[in-house]
Symmetry: C2
Subunit: 411 residues, 2 copies
């Protein structure tokens, strides 16, 4: 008998029929004797409909009122799901973020959770009720409705699981787990039984859009076991948890992540004096452009080359800023390429295994793929390559690290 916090996203509650299916699923867990707290998103399309109404009035709608508006989306879902449970003879009670109450700061449209009152929910659980909570929303200390930003329902689920000391936070979505890489690119991509929070963060930030990064961070911080499962088919999904020493056989690399939306920029021949990196990046961040990989090589003949990547959409803006900075710094020129992609191998296993990076470079060299940039972290090695080689590189690495379905016996 466990306490599960289950989060169902917009697609999982997108129609009345799907809400009924969620109610069936919850009823099944109840019948097994578990305590269930359900967190739901707005029905798919509803949030966009509401935002559309607002944008018809104001191009940049008042943030406080935006939160009043969009928070109705989840409120509709909690009511409908509670009715569907009631219909099945299961006592349920819905809660808006204010009713819980999920206390946040006042940063409308991107609020952060500060505290969660659990007493009412606990009384309901003790009375045998299913608790149905509106995801994505909270309330500040003045009683203003706030939202956590789009996709924030995952965060609500994890925060509730932490506050209620739940046995597991289960994120139901339209995929059946986290894969070794994108199955659309590599046919042999496999679902992972288990992955660590750190690996998941690296995978998530590199484009596996299964889970919100914030929710994973939150879960890691509070050590809430997180499971990604499919709303539409049964299966164990993927458990995201702290590193488990008992998994001796854990492969060195858990997955191959990639991102094709990048562009790189190089300031060539920068004088090698202190403060240069800060002046270059400072000018970029003042334009609200986010930088991903940064590489600077050792200097030769008193100048150096400074290279970094940005989102492809920011390429033109970044280049314009750099031209000015380069002139001020007396740099030789600004070079760039917006037809690049980043490929990364991710795995906590690489901490204790030498030779992972060289194996990666060998695999790419064998396919004649030139590596333009390299960046590493403790559990990740990323390379920047020409975009046209992306799929080839991902497949080669997936195979080199024996992640293909043919290579390993399914657990």
């Amino acid at each position: 008998m466990a306490l599960y916090v289950q989060k169902y996203g917009g697609t999982s509650v997108g129609t009345v029929d799907r809400i009924e299916a969620v109610a069936d699923k919850v009823a099944g867990f109840k019948a097994e004797g578990h305590d269930i707290v359900v967190v739901v998103s707005a029905m798919s399309g509803e949030t966009n409909r509401l935002i559309g109404l607002a944008k018809d009035i104001q191009s940049a709608p008042n943030p406080r009122e935006m939160d009043v508006l969009v928070s109705t989306g989840e409120q509709v879902t909690i009511a409908l799901l509670s009715m569907a449970l009631d219909k099945r003879g299961i006592s349920a009670r819905s809660y808006t973020g204010s009713q819980v109450k999920i206390l946040t700061d006042t940063a409308h449209m991107k609020a952060r959770i500060q505290d969660i009152e659990v007493s009412s929910m606990q009384s309901d659980l003790e009375a045998g009720r299913v608790v149905v909570v509106a995801g994505f929303q909270g309330v500040d200390d003045q009683g203003n409705i706030t939202t956590l930003g789009r996709g924030g329902s995952d965060t609500t689920g994890v925060a509730l699981a932490a506050a209620l000391k739940a046995d597991e936070c289960q994120i139901y979505t339209d995929v059946d787990g986290v894969y070794t890489t994108d199955p659309r690119v590599v046919e042999g991509a496999q679902r992972l039984e288990q992955i660590t929070f750190e690996e998941m963060l690296e995978m998530a930030s590199l484009g596996s859009k299964v889970l919100q990064i914030r929710a994973v961070e939150f879960a890691g911080k509070y050590k809430v076991p997180l499971r990604v499962l499919s709303s539409f088919e049964d299966g164990p999904g993927t458990l995201i948890t702290t590193e488990d020493d008992s998994t001796m056989e854990k492969p060195v690399i858990s997955g191959i992540a990639f991102n094709r939306d990048e562009a790189k920029l190089t300031v060539v021949g920068v004088p090698d004096v202190p403060g240069v990196a800060s002046r270059i990046l400072g000018s970029i961040s003042r334009e609200n452009i986010e930088v991903d990989v940064i590489v600077q090589n050792v200097a030769a003949d008193n100048t150096t080359d400074f290279t970094f990547t940005v989102h492809r959409n920011d390429y033109d803006a970044a280049e314009k800023v750099l031209q000015k900075v380069a002139e001020e710094l007396g740099a030789r020129e600004v070079a760039g390429d917006n037809k690049i992609a980043k490929v990364s191998i991710v795995g906590v296993g690489m901490r204790s295994h030498a030779g992972v990076a060289s194996k990666m470079f060998d695999a790419l060299a064998a396919e004649n793929i030139n590596i333009q940039m390299i960046s590493t972290s403790e559990i990740k090695v990323s390379v920047v390559i020409a975009e046209k080689y992306l799929e080839l590189a991902v497949r080669a690495l997936h195979s080199a690290f024996e992640l293909d379905a043919d290579d390993t016996v399914s657990e």
Copy 2:
């Protein structure tokens, strides 16, 4: 400089364009220096859409969750109207019923207001803000969302006006005031400048669906001046207020109300002994059938005839019950007619004028309209006639009491 509580119904806020028009209207009042509290309904069609979703799940949806669901309708409108005001440079703040807070009992879907906290709204008004409140909803002492029942936004407006001691509660609707009778029946029907709460109650309950009866009762009880105006065209509307002694010239009759949805039932030849009326009506009310006019004549030869009217939809059910009761009472038979209508003349002026009733009967007799039942109150005389004479009777009375546009000089 006055404080107005203005209520805009679903049609008045039915689209983004109409919400913008309401914002223009409110901006105009603000520019004149008035303090404004706006109460809004859900955008027209939205409440029915939400109820439809619920009914797809449960034929009799859980009342608590129904309130959570439908209260989102007004919440959407308050956010959008606040944005539209913000766009016009007018500082505005939206409030749900919970945020106000409008404290109600726990009777979900038909809650009654118990108390209203005015401090936050007053601070906003003092700071020059327009306060935008979701109509129709409140919160019980446990924090559960409640609703006042359909159309309850009028009641919210009046209750807020009473609590804030507003100078006037203005109900914006799709008609430009209260008329002497239905203009679709009598071409010469005229807008009334003023009408008393009591007259309005008699008019409202008899089918002039301009205002919710509860809101009028509430306004009368707390002496809140109530004005009905059009959202779509300018004009003074109709002021509903306490009797004004200064209006010497007030006509005897303010208006002609009618209702064609009635049916009458007679228990013929009931023994004239105590307790008969209570046994007959008790059996009807146990079936949750509402009774309107009741007439019992003096007895002849120890038996009497007991007649009453019900809504036409309840005719069959009422007859079935009566057959059984008639048998138990030893009554002769049950007779009935579901092709009847009720016509009433309403006016506080009739208190001090003799001969009003006879003038009414004369006018009907002149058209050869047979009167089947008569019922009177201090400010009203109602007659039941065959339905086919309804329009003829209304026109005859409207003319007899000199209410036609040709007869009186517009005030």
